[in-house]
Amino acid sequence: MITVENLVKDFGPKRAVNRVSFTVKKGEILGFLGPNGAGKSTTMRMITGFIPPTSGRVVVGGHDVNEDPIPAKRLIGYLPESAPCYSDMTVHGFLSFAAEIRGLHGSAKEEAVRKAVGLCFLESVLHQSVDTLSKGFRHRTCLAQSIIHDPEVLVLDEPTDGLDPNQKHEIRQLLKRFGQNKAIIFSTHILEEVDAVCSRAVIIDRGHVVANGTPAELRARHDLAGSVSLRVQGVGAEAVRDRLAGLGIAGKVTVSSEAGSVLARVLPRDRTISGDLARAVAELAGREGWRFDELKTEEGRLDEVFRTITQPDSRRPAE
């Protein structure tokens, strides 16, 4: 549905987006991650045709966004970063305008407005002027605008920004539901959102795509992913380490003792068989008669992965 090929955008001498490529298929929800200023919004603006790329191209539903913008834009629903709305209109007036400009008129328009209002929980403010709305309502009004024509492609720039936890939850549920038959790209800073909603995530840093995979694949890039930790009571740390290191499939073993218990972490020798490692450790503990009260496999943490592959400003090498 969405194909991004070698997208480049220069602002003066600064390259904001550098050779970004990815695709989003129907039924996929792509989470777009990255530190502030990484080029997320710029990329989304190029996908929606707001700004032209310096080079590269974006194809939406078979239409090149730059060459053939109007058919491509018909397929897209877009929520810009600041969720702008015409503040001199009522919610109903604003959504009617959005529907009309998308070519919906008469009863089809009313039906589309009614549906979008229902999905975004706007019934209570329908005839209120946009500039009297709270941030959450204004945000959802703009979101309603983006889904009013039931688009095949949704591009949402930080759809949950500025919402309270309940509203965030509602929007995530909405995205999941839409994700079944649409192609969705949304950007976020919130990593648990990626786990909760996305079928795939792309991490972008300083204009480059630095990771592209399912949330599980990204988590597996964590150094400790696949390791097994074990907390044992009443056994010496040395003994625990020696025994664990003796396991055939164990790699590096670290132990630390605290308040009478020993915490051991075993890395697998080969990451692809980490499932077997936990069982092997449990069997070993059973054979040795260790009393353990914790045994778990580390799945890898997205925030750690995010931190290691995107560098904060202060640690960036001079360019």
């Binding site: 109007i70 702008p84 001199d88 209109m89 009309e100 400009i101």
Partner: protein
């Protein structure tokens, strides 16, 4: 232009007009416009002392009245979209930029036209007191409306250049002021001493005044229509260039 384009332009113009009347801008503008028109026509224009059955005492002020009121009405058209960020929304809709430009321009022009029509009492007064030439009155109104359109097109252009409404206002007042003064004798005399003839006549030909005067006399000349038409087209075209530049940078 196909029917779909017309529909899009109408949708945009309608939104803009609704926006005007949902805010106090429209009412303030109309009231001030009518008050100033009355004041200028009857007090400064000495309408009653003239003893002429025409609208000259009324129309002669319009270039000056519009100089401030038209930029005030149009300054927000694009600068507000830029400031609030709705520009991003508008230009990612399945519409062409020119449709949005024309729609917004027409909405504001129609609004000024409405205010102009509300000056009808001056026509009634003139008809009651004397026996005016109806054709000349109509052509005077047409000229005034076209003049407002030319100023408005300038304002649309300046308002696309900045997200600050005040800057947009000042720029358009300055440009419109130039359009008034360009053919004025003290200005052309100033240039005659050093500038070649062709430059003097080029600058003078930018003036709206001779064209506007023709309408006041009751003459609707194709050349005058073309003049206002080309000022409007040129400024709206410049607006599209400015908007394209914004998105490129």
């Amino acid at each position: 232009m196909n029917s779909e384009s017309c529909r899009t332009i109408w949708t945009i113009a309608k939104r803009e007009l609704v926006g005007y009347f949902n805010s106090p801008v429209a009412y303030v503008f109309i009231v001030i416009f009518l008050l100033l028109n009355g004041f200028f026509t009857f007090m400064l224009g000495n309408y009653f002392l003239r003893g002429e059955a025409n609208l000259n005492a009324f129309l002669m002020w319009h270039p000056w009245l519009y100089l401030f009121l038209v930029p005030a009405a149009g300054m927000r058209l694009w600068s507000e979209e830029r400031r609030v960020g709705t520009l991003e929304l508008l230009l990612t809709m399945p519409i062409a930029a020119w449709q949005a430009i024309v729609g917004k321009f027409l909405a504001c022009w129609a609004f000024i036209g409405m205010a102009l029509l509300l000056t009808f009492p001056v026509v009634i007064t003139t008809s009651y007191l004397g026996d005016p030439d109806l054709g000349a009155m109509i052509s005077g109104y047409v000229g005034s409306f076209l003049l407002a359109g030319a100023y408005l097109a300038v304002t649309v252009m300046t308002s696309a250049m900045t997200r600050n409404q005040v800057i947009s206002f000042i720029l358009s007042v300055v440009i419109c002021f130039f359009l008034i003064l360009a053919g004025w004798e003290p200005v052309t005399d100033l240039m005659v001493r050093w500038a070649p003839d062709w430059l003097v006549s080029t600058v003078a030909s930018f003036s709206v005044m001779p064209h506007f005067m023709q309408f006041q006399r009751g003459v609707i000349d194709l050349r005058d229509l073309l003049f206002f038409g080309s000022v409007i087209t040129f400024c709206l075209f410049c607006t599209s260039v400015v908007l394209r530049g914004l998105r490129g940078a």
